[in-house]
Symmetry: D3
Subunit: 159 residues, 6 copies
Amino acid sequence: MRRAMFPGSFDPVTLGHVNLVRRLAAIFDEVIVAVSQNAAKKPRFSLQERCDLWEQALAEQGRPSNVRILSCTGLVATFAKENQVSALVKGIRNGEDLAYEQQIARVNLDLAGVETLFLPAEPSLAHVSSSVALHLYEMGAPVEGYLPAAVIAALAKAR
Amino acid sequence: MRRAMFPGSFDPVTLGHVNLVRRLAAIFDEVIVAVSQNAAKKPRFSLQERCDLWEQALAEQGRPSNVRILSCTGLVATFAKENQVSALVKGIRNGEDLAYEQQIARVNLDLAGVETLFLPAEPSLAHVSSSVALHLYEMGAPVEGYLPAAVIAALAKAR
Amino acid sequence: MRRAMFPGSFDPVTLGHVNLVRRLAAIFDEVIVAVSQNAAKKPRFSLQERCDLWEQALAEQGRPSNVRILSCTGLVATFAKENQVSALVKGIRNGEDLAYEQQIARVNLDLAGVETLFLPAEPSLAHVSSSVALHLYEMGAPVEGYLPAAVIAALAKAR
Amino acid sequence: MRRAMFPGSFDPVTLGHVNLVRRLAAIFDEVIVAVSQNAAKKPRFSLQERCDLWEQALAEQGRPSNVRILSCTGLVATFAKENQVSALVKGIRNGEDLAYEQQIARVNLDLAGVETLFLPAEPSLAHVSSSVALHLYEMGAPVEGYLPAAVIAALAKAR
Amino acid sequence: MRRAMFPGSFDPVTLGHVNLVRRLAAIFDEVIVAVSQNAAKKPRFSLQERCDLWEQALAEQGRPSNVRILSCTGLVATFAKENQVSALVKGIRNGEDLAYEQQIARVNLDLAGVETLFLPAEPSLAHVSSSVALHLYEMGAPVEGYLPAAVIAALAKAR
Amino acid sequence: MRRAMFPGSFDPVTLGHVNLVRRLAAIFDEVIVAVSQNAAKKPRFSLQERCDLWEQALAEQGRPSNVRILSCTGLVATFAKENQVSALVKGIRNGEDLAYEQQIARVNLDLAGVETLFLPAEPSLAHVSSSVALHLYEMGAPVEGYLPAAVIAALAKAR
C-alpha cells in the first residue's frame, strides 16, 4: 500500500490545501493529512479545531474515501515513519517555496529516512494561503474563493 | 498498484538519474523509466542504445526489481496514460528547473489528466547532468562520478 | 494619450499573448503590438504572416478598438520612441522571465529612454508559449487551448 | 485619463520610492500614492506622518504636477476601484519580490478587477528599502543615499 | 596580506558555518570571523558565549591557524574597514540567499567601500542553519549533524 | 600570495568584465584572466584576438599592475590548479546566474579541488553582456556603454 502524508499547520485549511489533497488522493492508495501543532507561533485555531475544520472541509467538498486527518504533536519526520508512509508531499508554487521546502525535505530525510515529493499548486489557486485569507477576512473582504464554508463559519463564530 | 513514470531523453543516463530512480522505486510499487525519442535535437546515442544503457546502468548499481525501462516515441502524456501511471515524476535541483518543469507538468495535465510530482535531487549529485558529463568526457576529464561504467564504456567505443 | 507597446516575435501569436493584449487594452488608451523581425533565428512564419495572424486572432476573440498591429524591422527601443509610447509592456510568468526581461528593459531604457512595465501572465495560461504550442502541434496533440483558430489553420495549410 | 496607483506602507518613504513615482508620473496621466495603514504591524510613523513625509519628499526632489498623496485605511483593491485607477503599480527588484507581488496582484484582481503592473527598480537604488534605511540610521550610519532629507529630519526629531 | 571577514550573528555557530570558514582559511591569508551583536532580535546566546562557542567549535574540528574570532558591536562595514579586510565573504545556498545578500553587500560597499564575495554552501550541509538546528533540538531530535559538540553541550546546560 | 582566476570565453570582453576584474585586482594579490577556447560554439573572435582585446581594454581603462591575461585551451579547473590559484571567481547578477555557476563550481571543485567565489555585478552594468552588446552592434545601436573602445574598433574592422 502506497501512503502519502501531507503535513502542515493548516491554520486554517484553505481551498488550496483541499485541492492538493484531493489530487493526492488520486495518486496514492491513502493520504494522511498531518495537522501539526506548530508550537513556534500562536495559532488562530487550536490543534483540535484545525483537525475538525479539515473534516468539515472535506465533507463539504466531496471527501475522497482514502483520506485520513491526524493530529501530529511531535516531529513530522517521526510521525511519518510511525505511520509507514511512502513519502511526504508538499505543495509548491514557485522557487521561493522550493528553496524552503528543499531544506525541510533534507532534514526529514536525515531524521527518519523519509522522502518528500512536491506537487505543484493548481495555478488558479496559487495565490491562496492561510495568512492572505485571514488578512482578507479581517478587512471584511469576501473569502469564499479562499476558504471552505466551514472555516468561514468558524471565523464568524470566533468574532 | 501505484506506478510512477520517470520520463527523459537520458542521452546518456547519469548517476543522478539512477539515484532518482532508485529512490522512486522505494516510494512506488512500480517505476517505468520512459526514454523519449526527443526528435528535436540530434541525440548522442540512439533511442535503443539509451534504453540499453539504462538496463546496464541498473544492472551494475543493483537493480530494484520494480523498475522497467521503456522507449517512448510519442507524447509523454499519452504514454503515461497508456501505461496507467499514477503520476509522472521529475527530478528538480533549483528554482530554474522548477519553472521549466511546472510548465511541462501543466501541459501533461491538460493533455492527458496526468499529474507530475517533483523529487529533489540528492545534493551531492545536483551538479551531475548529461551535458556536463559529456563535455567533461570530451575534454578528457574523469567522469566516474557522473556516469555509470556502461556509459563510459559506450563513449569509449564510439570514439 | 497613453500608448503602450507590446513587443515580441510572436512566431506564432498564442492565446497567452492575446490575453495580455486584451488586458493591456483596458489599462492604456492605445496598445501597439510590435511584431519584430527577430533576424537572429529562422522564424516559422514570415513577418507579414505573423502580423496577419495577430489581426485574425484579435478578430476571432473580439478585438478591442484601441489595438493596432505594426511590424518592426529595427530596434524595439527606437520603434517605441518613434511611436511616442508611454511604456513598453512585457508579460512575465516567473523569476526566470523577470531576470531576462530586466536586462532587456535596461537596454531599452538606455537606448531610447523608454520604460518597461511587466504584466503578470494569467495563471491558467502561464504554461502557454509559442514553442510549446508548436512542439505539441508537431506531435499531433490538440492545441485549441494554446493557439487561436487562425494560427491552427495556418499551421495545417503549411504542412 | 490613465491613472496609476502606487500603494505601500511607506514607513518611511525612501529615495527608491520617490524614484519609482517620478518615473510613473511620466508614464501615466496621474499617479496616486496610496499610503496604507498597514494595521498588521506597529509602524514607525503614523499614517498622517507618512503622508506628510511623502509630500515633503516630493517637494524637495522636484514634484511632478500629476502626483497625489492619499491615505488608505481599507483594502488597497477597493481603494483603487473607488479612485477609478487604470492599474496598480508595484516596484520589483528580483524574483523574490515578484513571487510575493504576483500573489498580491492576483488577490487584488479577484477582489476588485484591478490589474497590477510591475516597474523594475532603478539598479543603483535596488538596495534601498525602508527597513535597511531605518537599521542604518539606528546604527549611526549616514542615510543620505537612502532617505529624503525630510525623513532624516523627522527621524532626528523623534529621537 | 589578504584578509577575509566572515560576518554573522552565529546564534549559534553550526557545522555549516565551520565548513565555510575552514574552506575560506585555505583561500585567504587570514580569516576573521566577526560575531555581530545583532541587536534587532533577542539572541539565544550572548555575544560572548557565541564567540566562545566558535573557539570551541574550531578547536574540536581542527582549527586552521589563520582564523581569528572577533566580536563586532557596530556596523559590519565599519568593522571590516577598521580591520583592513580585502573582502567580506558570505555563504549562499540559493537564489533567495543571493537576493538578500546582494542588498547587504551593496549597503556595505556604499558605507565603507568594502566588497563582498559569496562562497557556495557545501551541498551536503545546505540544509543546516541555526534556526533549523535549534528547532530540532527543542523537539528532541538528534542534532549531531547540525551543531558542533560544544554547542550541543551549551544547549544542554542552558536547559 | 593570493591569486584569483577569472575564467570566461570573453567573446568579446565587455565593460562589465573589466569592472569585475578591476574590483578583483583590489581584493587579491594577483588576478589571472583565463580566456578559454570554448570549443563548443563558433566564437566571433579567435582565442588570440580575445586575449589581445583584453590587453587593449585594460590599457584604455587604466590597467591594474597585478592582472595577467592568459589563454586556456584545456579544462579551467586544471588550468587553475597549474597556476596555483587560491580560487576561481565568477561574476553573478541574479539567481539564474547563481544556479548555473553553482553547478560549474561544483564540477571544478571535484575535478581539481579548486574553490569558486562569486562577485556580484555592479548594478549599473548588470544588463551588459557579450551577446547583448553584439546584438546591439549588429542593429546599429551605440555600444559605448557596453564595450571597450578597442572591441568596438575590432568589430568595425571585421565588417
